[in-house]
């Protein structure tokens, strides 16, 4: 009696186990595909100049050499190219204020559009959202012309970080408003009503009810904005033509487009450019995915 059942169990179990092996093998194969460029990035950046041979791209580095990183960061006066250190800092000066400003603005917009709906707000909202899908090529010419004319207290907006901040904050309105609106829509209206009965007005409700509950919303929005502003190339390349004010994506593209820069230095530069957003992803990935989902309009 025991033998047939054991036989039966084995025969149903073994194909399943084989399936599991194949399953994991496929998953690992895909993981290798996604990690392959990372391997080349990291391994090449660590090679010495003598080792960094295109034909031996896949070989492991023989030791740890940081020459490529030093050269990508500081540049080389002898060979006549600039390092990415200035561009990296430009990106920091651009991304930090632009992220904070657009998160705060988005929070206010989301509050009004979720808890203070008015006649026409259902029309206004999709009109705002359209702004995040447009190809920015369709506004670039007027943007450049306008920024060239803005000059507040001697601060030029064309070719400068303030100009880029302005562009990112304004074109960030749709996505930040969308995320906050959906986030606040999930906060029960009873809470708002209760605060109302306690005598809170439109500002009080925001300050004492919505804002204290907003931390996850702010995290999602700020990660989203940080990533897209840091990674932006189109605005940066169009608005800043002076290498001293260019963000890192433009700096990297110049470095990589130059024939005098060795490819291992380019790889080191690419890793530097990727690192800040990659670290945010590694440590706060959960919130990153939430922003991603919001981008497809499904809060």
């Amino acid at each position: 009696m025991t033998t047939p059942t054991r036989e039966l169990r084995r025969s149903t179990k073994s194909p399943i186990r084989w399936q599991r092996v194949v399953l994991y093998a496929v998953l690992v194969a895909f993981a290798i595909f996604y990690l392959m460029p990372v391997y080349v990035l990291v391994a090449t950046g660590l090679k010495s100049f003598a080792e960094a041979n295109l034909q031996r791209m896949w070989d492991l580095p023989k030791g740890l050499h940081f020459d490529s990183y030093v050269k990508a960061w500081f540049g080389s006066e002898a060979e006549g190219f600039r390092g990415l250190n200035v561009n990296f800092m430009n990106s920091v000066y651009l991304t930090v204020p632009a992220t904070i400003l657009s998160a705060m603005w988005g929070s206010i917009n989301g509050y009004i559009l979720s808890k203070w709906k008015f006649r026409g707000s259902d029309v206004l909202f999709p009109l705002l959202l359209f702004g995040m899908f447009i190809p920015y090529q369709s506004i670039l010419i007027p943007l450049v012309q306008t920024l060239q004319k803005i000059n507040i207290f001697g601060v030029k907006f064309y070719g400068s970080i303030p100009g880029l901040i302005l562009a990112h904050v304004i074109y960030g309105i749709p996505i930040t408003t969308l995320i906050f609106r959906n986030y606040y829509a999930g906060i029960p209206t009873e809470l708002v009503e209760a605060a109302r009965i306690d005598g809170a007005n439109i500002f009080g409700i925001y300050r004492h009810v919505l804002f204290p509950l907003s931390v996850p919303g702010f995290v999602v929005v700020m990660i989203w904005q940080f990533t897209s502003i840091w990674n932006d190339f189109l605005f940066a390349a169009t608005v800043t033509s002076n290498p001293a004010t260019q963000p890192i994506t433009v700096g990297l593209n110049n470095l990589a487009g130059s024939y005098i820069v060795e490819w291992n230095v380019q790889m080191a530069g690419a890793l530097m450019t990727a690192l800040p957003t990659l670290l945010v992803y590694i440590f706060l990935g959960r919130y990153f995915v939430r922003g991603l989902m919001a981008g497809s309009l499904k809060g």
Partner: protein, 299 residues
């Protein structure tokens, strides 16, 4: 009642900066670009003499623009299909109670967090075919190492492949997005539904075809629209990876617009390309936007 009116006014005052900013920087600027596309503006100094639709007529007769449109179609088809298939397969596999699911998910999704410029720089070297004298490099060298040498091609340097090579890099970057969307969708399908089908004697393949795929249709639609508009707008990746290529083999409208406007100073022509690009995106996005904000209002 009086207080309510006071707060109504404040609520509209609070949303109006965003509404005005979008009205000017999105709709006003689009109008400005559309107007520019109807003028003679062909050098740095603006010339707003109207010439009707002649810029558009010339554009459609322009060989480079024809190639660009064809490239966009080829790129979009390959990019969309591979993202959808890879994303769906990975999501299905990850939904089988996988040990270390979180790690796999993070690996598949991390390319989304880095800039297209970084992706372009890395993949330019990965898909660099090398030369007959010096030997293979990049992926070709990898093929040699594992005995798949017959798969070697010229990648983006081969005019017959051109833009398809760029689509590989774009798929590497964006397929994690469809994986995340599908996985979220799969998790929302109740297990009882699959269980019931199994009891009725349905095979796993039948369950996928007749139950899972139809239920995931809304997600497929969202993914097609989000990825489709990204693919129409693709610009940074082309800049960093290949440029317009030999015989414009990797050129796209978004690249042509920037090139002809800001390098060639053909502002009116650039504006016309931008407007065509905008129309293509709008055809895709506007119905989706109306549909998703309307279904939301019904709930």
């Amino acid at each position: 009642m009086r207080r309510l009116n006071w707060e109504r006014v404040v609520s509209i005052l609070l949303i109006s900066p965003a509404a005005v900013a979008i009205a000017i920087f999105v709709y006003g600027f689009i109008g400005w670009t559309a107007y520019s596309s109807l003028t003679k503006w062909d050098k740095l100094l603006p010339d707003f003499t109207l010439v009707g639709l002649s810029n558009y007529r010339k554009l459609f007769a322009n060989q480079r623009f024809q190639i660009d449109l064809r490239n966009t179609v080829v790129f979009t088809v390959i990019f969309l299909i591979s993202c959808l298939i890879i994303g769906f397969v990975l999501a299905l596999l990850l939904d089988q109670r996988i040990r270390g699911e979180g790690i796999f998910r993070s690996i598949y999704l991390f390319p989304m967090s880095i800039s297209f410029i970084v992706t372009g720089v890395v993949w330019r070297w990965l898909l660099n075919p090398g030369s007959a004298e010096l030997g293979s490099t990049g992926v070709n060298a990898l093929f040699d190492m594992v005995g798949l040498g017959f798969l070697k091609t010229g990648w983006y340097t081969d005019p017959n492949i051109g833009i398809k090579a760029v689509a590989i890099a774009a798929t590497w970057q964006m397929s994690g997005y469809t994986m995340a969307m599908y996985l979220a969708g799969l998790r929302a399908i109740p297990e009882e539904l699959r269980e019931a089908a199994r009891v009725d004697g349905a095979s796993e393949v039948q369950i996928v075809r007749h139950i899972i795929l139809p239920l995931l249709q809304p997600i497929t639609l969202s993914a097609v629209i989000v990825l489709g508009h990204i693919s129409l707008k693709i610009y940074d990746l082309i800049v960093a990876m290949t440029g317009p290529g030999i015989g414009f083999a990797t050129d796209v409208p978004a690249y042509y617009m920037w090139d002809t406007t800001f390098r060639g100073n053909h502002f009116a022509r650039g504006a016309a390309v931008a407007i065509i690009l905008l129309i293509m995106v709008a055809v895709l996005i506007v119905p989706y936007l109306v549909w998703s904000t309307r279904t939301e209002a019904e709930i």
